[in-house]
């Protein structure tokens, strides 16, 4: 067991993947000498060289497009998009090419590419540095979309993402990069499949569904609620596409209430997808409608207002209260 921050856990996970498979490459802006603006790739270029840890020209479409070419040639690129808001110049390559090429080739082509995206707000940044663009990618068939929330998952899931033969959009909660926890880097026995959700807190009255940065917020809300005698189950979805519906439905059928929490705007957000599926499959078990807590239907605000925009403990508890009001 070693204590790792989330960013260091990702770093160790990538290091392990690079040691295990010489075809694994890292590419992105400032990932080499600097080790990335969040230091997630710190030291990797020093140890694996400039051919495997590539400081690319400043062009996101170029990063993903050339990663596709490298993958066609048998490599397994792990691409870093420096900040969530800068994935959009790469959206064309991701959506029109990366997601669809394997299927067009009737499976003859595999594109084992990981696109790492630091996501979410809460770090006081200027615009385009705090976004939660997961829905655009969940909506795009052909991509696996996952989000880690803690160091242990970061360590295992990044390796599983790299091992996957499908393209994986890998969201990293940037404001949790510095959170520490024990990680067992010596064995893989504890690894859960990376498309499996985890019940991170057991409860009986309501199910909180979250991923990435909001898992911690929900756990804090559950602790606060417990003091008032309300028992909340918290599920870390981990994989957004595919969704581990089995675990979600099982929990909601048990508690009878579900509240989805994400930073992304509620309008057209992943919460809508969850609510629809839960309503279809758990209708007779529901005591209240599935409620959503998320960002407003506004652009991400200037940082002085982000604490209003981002769901926090109070807003989660408020939604839970409303769920109990039905």
């Amino acid at each position: 067991m070693t204590v790792l921050t989330l960013s260091k856990a990702l770093n160790e996970g990538m290091r392990k993947a690079m040691e295990d498979d010489s075809k694994v490459l890292i590419m992105g802006e400032d990932v080499g000498k600097l080790g990335g603006v969040f230091r997630v790739t710190d030291g990797l270029q020093k140890d694996f060289g400039e051919d495997r840890v590539i400081d690319t020209p400043l062009a996101e479409s170029g990063i993903i497009g050339t990663a596709i070419g490298l993958a066609l040639r048998g490599f397994r690129p792990v691409c870093e998009i420096q900040f969530d808001g800068f994935v959009f110049p790469a959206a064309d390559q991701i959506i029109t090419q990366l997601a669809k090429m394997p299927m067009r080739a009737l499976g003859a082509i595999k594109l084992p590419i990981v696109v790492r995206i630091p996501c979410g707000g809460g770090i006081g940044a200027v615009e385009h540095h705090s976004e939660s663009p997961e829905s655009y990618f969940i909506h795009t068939a052909g991509l696996r979309v996952v989000a880690c929330s803690n160091p242990a998952d970061a360590y295992s899931m990044i390796q599983q993402a790299i091992q996957s033969d499908d393209p994986v959009i890998f969201f990293e909660p940037k404001r949790r990069y510095w959170e520490k926890a024990e990680v067992d880097t010596g064995s893989t026995d504890w690894w859960a499949p990376f498309d499996q959700a985890q019940v991170v807190r057991q409860g009986s009255d309501v199910t909180l569904l979250a991923y990435g940065p909001m898992v911690k917020t929900c756990l804090e809300a559950a602790t606060a609620a417990a003091e008032e005698g309300r028992s909340m189950e918290v599920i870390d979805l981990r994989s957004l596409n595919p969704l581990d519906t089995g675990r979600v439905f099982e929990s909601v059928r048990k508690t009878g209430r579900a509240v989805v929490v994400h930073e992304a705007p509620v309008t057209g957000g992943f919460g809508a997808e969850l609510a629809a599926r839960i309503t279809e499959q758990c209708f007779y078990h529901l005591e209240s409608p599935v409620l959503r807590v998320g960002g407003f239907s506004t652009p991400y605000p200037p940082s002085k207002l982000e604490e209003h925009y981002l769901p926090d403990l109070d807003r989660v508890l408020d939604a839970v209260d409303r769920a109990f009001g039905y």
Binding site: K33, S61, V126, P302, S303
Partner: protein, 357 residues
Amino acid sequence: MTADAPPELVQLLTPEGERVEHPDYDIDLTPEEVRSLYRDLVLVRRIDLEAVALQRHGELGIWASLLGQEAAQIGSGRALTDDDMAFPTYREHGVAWCRDVDPVKLLGLFRGVNHGGWDPAEHNFHLYTIVIGSQTLHAVGYAMGIQRDGGDGATIVYFGDGASSQGDVNESFVWASVFNAPIVFFCQNNQWAISEPIEKQSRIPLYRRANGFGFPGVRVDGNDVFACLAVTRQALKNAREGQGPTLIEAFTYRMGAHTTTDDPTRYRVASELEAWKLKDPIERVKAYLFKNELADQEFFDAVDAEAEKLGADLRRRCVEMPDPTPMAMFEHVYSSEHRQLDEERTAYAGYLEGFES
């Protein structure tokens, strides 16, 4: 010119403050004009230093310093006429100064109180753009607008060496060329894109890229305010007269960190900075003024005093800047009412009221 010919650099004022001739570019400045340029340079450096200090004191979330790039920005900025339109990145505080944008308005974005802060049309200075390269296309479109509505001005767009790799920037070159748009592409090659040196973006001097797109490119000493002014003036004039785009590569150096959150010691050697300090954009103008007895100590002292006052004023007004109200988040998203947003606004106002009672 062969592809591997050494790059040519337009320079009119050496780092030592000597006026030199150039066959294609010249500039005739009155002593008053030179003093005025000097004042601009000193004042924008002061604004910048003050902003860095404000960030250190927690008054700004982040700041992108222009240190070292004052001449490129003042030279090009003072070449603009009122009719010209400028599109900046996030580092063009010196150009903003030339466009009469109140410096305190630049701080809003970095303090996190707004995403912009000024009316672009009022200053013919567009909002800062953080997404690298996007603004080059907006600028070309704007220039195409000038072509179509018979306006008098030209357009200038700023971008960095790193940005030159972006698809948008290359597309903007194609558009500008094909439509012969009245635009000047002003690339400040400050040698670095965060931690990546220029070699990671280009094998040839950036100004030579213009040839391939079908318009002229010129490299200017970006630390020479005279040369930047002369070259930009000429390029803007050509644009206004229907001769289409020019790419200007201002060869300069980012003397500070990329932003206040960056640590350049991780990726570049100190000797590089020391070498560039000898080419400081302000010192050479000062030397020129001194040598030619165009200014006395009294003048320099007065400029310093003015800078001091400007800095103190900026500091005070930054701290006094009001925080936005939470409800400001819902404003200006749409030009008229919007059902869902209005519902969210009402609900959130009610939610906040719950905390007051």
